[in-house]
């Protein structure tokens, strides 16, 4: 899969391959901005050329088949990742959600060719995606909520509110009006309603279940066999040389092979007046295609923006739409030329050190007037709403056709119909979906392991009570935190309570974040905690518990194979949040010390020291906290609480710390303390089980192989436990390696060479 580095700036597209653009020196303040416009204009001129020439081909009885680059599927499935941006409204680059709409419109077409190299990439991507199901789906939803707040605060909402209140089906015009309103005011909200927030794997599965793709061979038999590998290499070299940042050589090869296959296919199809166009945003591929085509009209790559209604109307092109395109193309061309000319003159006058200010100013004003005209041309086009054609929808619920404009408008209005207009009420619905996913996942896991019952109680937990102003939330969360395990239903009920127990949005979202943390969805939990704090800061409430919980989320939200410096940054960020919590707490209550804060800080310092002490991370060595700082922090935490569960966690941290420091005497003391604290609990979380095994291993003097085997088995169970974060799993893995090494050592020690006299 290609590096998308080349795509981040579509303005670069005009700079390669045309060979006709006079260079514009970048020395005047207007220069950079205007030059961006000019470059982008050239790209749009090219795309309009493509649309018109394709239309002419259709009129001349040609059949056009579309093929698609895997990267378009990638961008459709993960719409928030590096979308293209354009300096002017062009029906594509002004909004990431719009790109999602346009691609969904494109994918709604049937029989799109997926060249084999891209099918391979898609297959690999699916494998990867299915292993990483929980992406950052919460982000878009939070954006949507934020936009909704803004919309509701705006003045132009009265008409929409009236429509929300009417007790009859919406008319076509009303539907259009509502969607247009929200598109303008809250595109993230529209995207959310349309299903762009669906976890990427679900979105991809929904797309594939409609079977939109066909093999290239089904359209052009023999195209794969006719590939010329010299051509593939030539294309590959071109791609490698022109892609700006370091990218994967395999991506160049796959792209080159796909392009060559399509070139061969087009040769086969041309006598039958059929041709294949590859839809890809890659400007470098487009340049390569032009470079190696016999004739400019043979270039077969099209940018996906041409499927926007700004270029291709909902119904087919007619004379009017084509002449409109031509007019817009002319205005782009006029603008580009005028700007180039004026900037060249401007440059000349600057270089002669005799600037004619009046003339320069006049040139710029003219250019700006042209730019205004051009903007108007593009603003008058039909716009986004026509993208919501029925055929273009990705169905969120296949039974109810929720993708239709009416259903979309209905859902958008639902946000307004909520009397309290409360963000958390809407968030509740969304989080319940996540809980259902976890429930399903757990059921599957239960069936796999044939032990669903223990799982119910085993893997969910809440380490600390988080305190709320709302008494109902406070009592509920404190009760949940008294135990080491939390029932899934109890976590789900917390979401309900969060929405209903209080009107304070900060508390609502914080409680939801806590419920997500209980589920182990730390990434989403962190997002919600951050958003709760954002709201809380606006309202000026007491936020110390929010900062503290956010710190917990940051610590827990580690990723697999996290680079050491990233881990340390994450830890520092969490420590900063705890500092903020302490300051806020002092302001509010007159005291800063809280045993939970100290314990959490101690745990962070241990992690930091452990990472920085590794021989592989010598650069971090100097920054690591001292053992005494850790001992001191955790000892203060111990003295500041009587709570047995919290003391168990503090003992666990101290026990772990002394094992890591190879301090046998203190480790013994804290093992006893830990066991004492855990006596009343039938189950304990996996990270404590890990410490116990690790400690037993460390403190044992002459373990037997059987003992070591028991430890290894326990570590395997801990490793696979649901409540372990990726960072914690890495630690378990390291412990397992050491314990396993000990096993070998024991076996080796038992081997003693037999003295010769024995024979």
């Amino acid at each position: 899969m290609r590096s998308r580095s080349e795509r981040k700036a579509p303005m670069e597209e005009g700079s390669k391959g045309t060979g006709t653009t006079p260079s514009i020196p970048a020395q005047h303040p207007y220069d950079t901005t205007l030059r961006q416009y000019v470059k982008h204009c050239k790209v749009l001129i090219r795309d309009i050329d493509h649309v018109i020439s394709d239309h002419e081909a259709l009129q001349n009885k040609w059949t056009i088949h579309y093929a698609v680059d895997f990267s378009e599927i990638f961008n459709f499935v993960l719409p928030a990742w590096k979308p293209e941006h354009s300096p002017l409204s062009d029906g594509w680059g002004e909004d990431p959600e719009l790109q999602f709409f346009v691609l969904s419109r494109f994918f709604a077409q049937k029989n799109i060719i997926l060249p084999e190299p891209y099918a391979v990439e898609l297959r690999a991507f699916m494998e990867w995606l299915l292993a990483n199901m929980y992406g950052n789906a919460a982000k878009l939803f939070l954006d949507a909520l934020s936009e909704l707040r803004r919309v509701l605060e705006g003045k132009a909402v009265a008409e929409i509110e009236r429509l929300a209140g009417i007790d009859r089906p919406l008319t076509e015009d009303e539907t259009k009006h509502i969607i247009a309103f929200f598109e303008a005011q809250a595109p993230a909200l529209v995207a959310f309603v349309r299903g762009a927030d669906l976890p990427a794997a679900d979105l991809l599965k929904r797309l594939l279940r409609s079977r939109p793709f066909v093999d290239l061979e089904s359209v052009a038999v023999g195209s794969a066999d006719g590939v010329d590998h010299d051509s593939v290499n030539r294309l590959r070299e071109f791609l490698k040389a022109h892609r700006l940042l370091a990218s994967n050589p395999q991506s160049h090869y796959n792209d080159a092979l796909a392009m060559e296959q399509i070139r061969v296919a087009n040769k086969i199809l041309a006598p039958h007046k059929r041709k294949i166009l590859l839809v890809s945003r890659s400007s470098v591929m487009m340049s390569a295609c032009r470079r190696y085509s016999d004739h400019p009209s043979d270039a077969f790559i099209r940018h996906p923006r041409i499927f926007s209604t700004a270029y291709t109307p909902e119904k087919r092109h007619d004379e009017r739409s084509i002449s409109d395109l031509r007019r817009r193309q002319q205005s782009l061309d006029l603008f580009a030329k005028a700007v180039q000319e004026s900037l060249a003159r401007l440059q000349q006058s600057l270089s002669t050190l005799n600037p004619d200010e009046e003339t320069d100013g006049q040139q710029i004003i003219e250019a700006e007037q042209l730019l205004d005209k051009m903007r108007k041309d593009w603003a008058n086009i039909e716009g986004m709403s026509a993208a919501f054609i029925r055929a273009g929808e990705i169905k969120v619920d296949p039974g109810a056709d929720p993708g239709s404009p009416k259903v979309i408008a209905h859902h958008l209005l639902e946000f307004l119909r909520d009397d309290t207009r409360n963000l958390a009420r809407q968030a509740k619905q969304y989080i319940q979906k996540l809980i259902d996913d976890v429930r399903r996942q757990r059921d599957v896991l239960g069936v796999k392991l044939q032990s669903a019952a223990p799982l119910q109680t085993e893997y969910l937990n809440l380490l600390y009570p988080i305190h709320f102003q709302s008494k109902e939330l406070e009592d509920y969360v404190v009760e949940l935190a008294r135990h080491w395990s939390v029932n899934l239903d109890a976590a789900s009920a917390l979401v309900e309570k969060a929405a209903n127990a209080t009107d304070d949005e900060y508390e609502q979202l914080l409680a939801m974040s806590v419920s997500l943390g209980i589920l182990g969805l730390w990434e989403v939990a962190e997002n919600y905690a951050a958003y709760a704090l954002e709201l809380g800061q606006q309202d000026g409430g007491q936020l110390y518990e929010g900062y503290f919980w956010h710190a917990v989320c940051v610590r827990k939200n580690s990723v697999r194979d996290e680079p050491p410096h990233a881990s340390v940054e994450r830890i520092k960020k969490a420590i900063d949040e705890i500092d903020k919590a302490s300051i806020e707490r002092y302001r509010a209550l007159g005291e800063a010390i809280d045993a939970r804060y100290l314990k959490e800080q101690g745990a962070l310092l241990i992690e930091w020291r452990q990472i920085a002490s590794s021989p592989d991370n010598s650069a971090l060595r100097d920054s690591r906290p001292s053992p005494s700082a850790i001992t001191d922090t955790l000892s203060r935490a111990w003295s500041a609480t009587e709570d047995t569960k919290l003391r168990a966690q503090i003992s666990n941290a101290l026990f772990y710390h002394f094992i890591a420091e190879e301090d046998r005497e203190n480790a013994e003391v804290h093992r006893s303390q830990l066991e004492e604290s855990l006596r009343r609990y039938p189950t304990v979380p996996s990270f404590i089980r890990d410490t116990r095994v690790w400690g037993d291993y460390f403190l044992s003097t002459a373990p037997t192989v059987e003992q070591v085997d028991t430890w290894l088995k326990e570590l395997d169970l801990v490793y696979n436990a649901y409540d372990m974060t990726p960072f914690e799993k890495e630690l378990v893995q390291r412990h397992r390696i050491d314990v396993s090494g000990r096993r070998n050592q024991i076996i080796k020690d038992q081997i003693k060479p037999l003295p010769r006299t024995h024979v």
Partner: protein
């Protein structure tokens, strides 16, 4: 008892006892983890080397058992097992059928020996009848014995055919007791995560810098894996192979 078994083995001679006896004793030693038997077994391998590794079926079977049992005792503090194994692995007169066990055992003790051992295994693998080795099991055993990082660092030390074999088999072999593929498909075709650090991004290292033969080979391996045929039973209960295109496999995965 362990000492007794060791002593009994020490009394074994080819002239007076059968290979079956030796094998029986060896397995008893393995079952009771008689470490005392290790030096005895090493001595027997040295004393009867010319017979055990090049002889008939019964002597080869005994050699195979002893090697497997000794492999369970690595790493050896004094490196005696490893030294002998290394010697046997690179001795052309020793039967190639032992190469996988020897190579894995050496690599377990010294992961840095991985490339040398795997290269040798691949060379010897061509000298045994096709299907003698279970490719997946052998590659999984090496992958278990050697950390992934070391394997990745060794790609340039592998021969071309060994590298190809590792990729081809690794892409369809899951690591023992884990869901990870030894060579994840996405790591060959490279899922590009645009610098996001919160998701695992991982590319299998290239041998050369942008070598077109290697790129083509990697693509072909990925393609074969993407469209790997499935075996299923037909209505008559007979095993039947169905070939799918890469796209069909994608659709199947989406169901």
């Amino acid at each position: 008892m362990r000492l007794g078994v060791a002593l009994a083995m020490r009394c074994w001679t080819q002239e007076h006892h059968s290979y079956g006896t030796l094998r029986g004793l060896s397995w008893v030693a393995a079952q009771i983890r008689a470490n005392e038997a290790v030096p005895v077994l090493l001595q027997i391998l040295k004393d009867y080397r010319s017979v055990l590794f090049t002889g008939k079926d019964d002597s080869l079977a005994a050699a195979d058992d002893i090697i497997s049992i000794l492999a369970g005792f690595v790493p050896d503090r004094d490196g005696r097992i490893e030294t002998l194994f290394e010697d046997l692995l690179f001795d052309d007169s020793v039967t190639p059928t032992l190469s996988a066990t020897l190579g894995v055992a050496i690599s377990t003790s010294d992961p840095k020996a991985f490339a040398r051992c795997f290269n040798r295994y691949c060379l010897l693998r061509d000298r045994v009848p096709q299907g003698y080795f279970s490719d997946s099991d052998v590659v999984a055993a090496f992958a278990e014995a050697v950390p992934r990082k070391v394997i990745e660092e060794s790609v340039n030390a592998l021969t071309w055919s060994a590298y190809k074999h590792w990729m081809r088999v690794g892409v369809k072999t899951k690591r023992y007791s884990s869901d990870d593929y030894i060579v994840p498909l996405a790591s060959i075709v490279s899922v590009d995560l645009l610098g996001r650090t919160d998701l695992p991004d991982y590319t299998w290292p290239m041998r050369g810098d942008d070598n077109s033969a290697e790129l083509r080979m990697r693509y072909e391996i990925a393609l074969n894996e993407a469209k790997r045929s499935a075996t299923h039973l037909n209505d008559e209960g007979e095993a039947q192979n169905t070939a799918f295109s890469a796209l069909e496999k994608v659709y199947a995965l989406a169901q």
